[in-house]
């Protein structure tokens, strides 16, 4: 029996084959390179995801998604019968100064919660001293070089150094770039600018052959927020509990949440893309 199903609001249609499977997430890819994922964790929910309280697609090798239904192995779920997850975040009416003050204070107040090998050192260079291992040291040098280029206004060159660099299934540099793309959404809203073209340029520089990375960046470019990030942003824009939302965000991947957040804060602090 299906207890709860939620569909993302930007779910692509088509035939999707199993790409990779993890404990809480199964990824499916179409021949066109579109990706969707199925999860049983509402905190991971995103615009291109399906949430099931019991993952009946756990064994699925393929999914068919149309505007009306999702099916696999003879099972069929009508989309109209189920709620839709909204991946939108609106900055209308928020106090921008208050939001940025909260964000800027995070590394000082909660730096200890960030994994040691996350990109927080871009915001707090003191942390570079904690880095050991030749790969990590070289990576840090590269990321700081990339950040310098961003600060010098050479955004494309900076992003070229960052993207694809680092550990993790989605390399840490790509998580950071995703943070920059989400930051551009905020900066566009604050300054009443359309940043879409600029974001597209960054996406084109960053994308590679890894479908998971491309999909992640694509949704960042299109300001489709996943639940944990959405909760975090709203906790900073309203009088929410920042620490709880932050902890949930930092719990994503080994350093993914922390790297994305470092990129987000860095992008907003330095008005990247404007």
């Amino acid at each position: 029996m299906i207890e709860r199903v939620v569909f993302g609001d930007v779910l692509p249609t088509g035939v999707f084959k199993l790409h990779s499977r993890f404990r809480r997430v199964s990824n499916f890819a179409s021949v066109d390179g579109d990706m969707v994922f199925v999860t049983d964790d509402p905190m991971l929910m995103a615009g291109h995801a399906i949430q099931l309280s019991q993952n009946i697609f756990r064994e699925a090798e393929a999914l068919t998604i149309t505007e009306e239904f999702v099916s696999t192995g003879g099972r069929l779920i009508h989309r109209k019968d189920h709620p839709v997850y909204s991946s939108c975040v609106s900055f209308a009416g928020i106090d921008f100064n208050d939001f940025e003050t909260r964000l800027n204070q995070l590394p000082a107040d909660y730096g200890h919660l960030f994994p040691e090998d996350s990109f927080l050192y871009v915001l707090d260079p003191e942390r570079c001293r904690l880095i050991s291992g030749a790969f990590d040291q070289q990576l840090a040098r590269r990321i700081l070089d990339g950040a310098e280029l961003l600060l010098a206004g050479q955004v494309e060159n900076g992003v070229s150094l960052l993207s694809g660099s680092g550990k993790g299934l989605t390399p840490s540099g790509d998580d950071f770039v995703a943070g920059l793309l989400y930051a551009m959404h905020y900066l566009g809203a604050k300054n009443r600018l359309c940043m879409d073209k600029r974001a597209r340029q960054l996406f084109d520089i960053s994308k590679g052959n890894n479908l998971l990375v491309n999909s992640f960046l694509w949704h960042a470019m299109n300001h489709n927020y996943f639940q944990t990030l959405k909760n975090f942003v709203y906790s900073c824009t309203r009088s929410g509990c920042v620490s709880q939302a932050l902890i949930a965000l930092l719990a994503l991947g080994a350093t993914s949440g922390a790297d994305l957040l470092s990129g987000y804060i860095f992008g907003i602090q330095h008005r990247i893309g404007i």
Partner: protein
Amino acid sequence: MITQGVIKQGVYFDSVTLMNVARRITALEGIGDASVVMGTRENKTILESAGLFVSDFSDATDTDLLISVKAENEDFARQALDLVDTALKDVSVSADGRKSDTVRSLKDAVERLEGANLVLISIAGRYAAAEAQKALDQGLHVMLFSDNVAIEDEKRLKEEARDRGLLFMGPDCGTAIINGIPLAFANAVKRGNIGLVGASGTGLQEVSCIVSNLGGGISQALGTGGRDVKKEIGGIMFLEAMKALFDDDQTQCIVLISKPPDEEVLDLIAKEISLTDKPVVGMFIGADPETVARAGALPAGSLEEAALLAVQLSMGKPVEDVQAILQDFHSEVGSLAEKFSPGVKGRFLRGLFSGGTLCHEAQLILKEYIGKVYSNVPLSPDYYLTPDHKGHFHTLIDMGDDAFTAGRPHPMIDFSQRCKRIQEEAKDPETAIILFDVVLGYGAHASPLDELLPALAAAHEHSPDLLFICSVTGTDEDPQDRQAVIESLRDSGVIVMMSNYSAALLTGHIIKNITS
């Protein structure tokens, strides 16, 4: 040093797995450095700069996994790469080489294990109540390890369990010993005639271990989850667990462990105690002893005293002896404090705990000696630490609190955060004593000293006058070998006490000595 590497094509592992594997191989003997990264163009450039590139990597793509090691010789390199292969090949293979028996539902699990009558549930809190309901529907006792279960669900499920004559331990129940079988975080204790009921996981562990180490034994240790004794739940399972032990022929003496229960719940507990002839010890941490006595239980002022009383009772010895034992013990601790106080530099205490109840108990003990103690889980809201959890005045931190464990293993399993913090605190010239706990047993770190000793050595090198005081919760039968742990800690200059109570007491005496 030589560099060797392998490529895994088209395989995907989550980031945490990849980083854990990288850390494991870096720690191997003969390995200078290691890296496990995706084969992007950028990562290949970084690997080259880091001296971790091998020629085979040239043709790798974004979707390939590149593993490289810098080793003292080929044998070490090969061993490390073999380990990676094994670690990544099948994450579901257990340590003893058996493949995990994967089942997709509770129903499947029950069918697979004929005769099972208890289910341990550890899934995301939001789904836990539904699974627990299914377990009750199948007539199973439940141990619910998950937290974040709505209190309304907890009450409903516990009422239903009671009506069905089933035990419902939890939510947020981390410790139980049923018929000698330790569940979740529990220790290898001797079997005997002392039954425990606890709304506190590390409280149950501490008491059961001290009982066992004193020569007593445990019949059953039943956890209830911390909220059970609150007004909203009404002590439903605490009372049921008490009744179960009253009816259990093997149990001759009962110890109740929790924070002070709600007044109405305490009345119900008192009523239940009045119905049994078996002696009951009450350790309601921080409660007024008179209140406990009024409920009909022998009041204990610490987890250690509760264990001592229970052992005396279980052996038919007079409980009055316990006061004499504690008196002697206080004198001994006082002498120890005199011995260690003169060389201490700094003024303040820093306590780093993995057990929440142990942190709470230590604060209560220290309050008597040194007054206010700041914490992330303080006795009074006035003494909350700032969000960065930086040490302030005397500070005790529960590192098992959500703020430290989100996305990370519990500090009983992974010492890395505590080790880092030990070194940070050692650098503060105001730090006089670092107090910490080491909890052994099933579920806990298999080899805690591997992480702890290097951190203590580094801290000691930086601050030779710093005192380290620690308690070890465990038994000699635990998988980690308690005696060996204690000896190694002592060899490293740590003052090891046999209980959380005694460690906190000694700390309180020394701080009092150096500040007066």
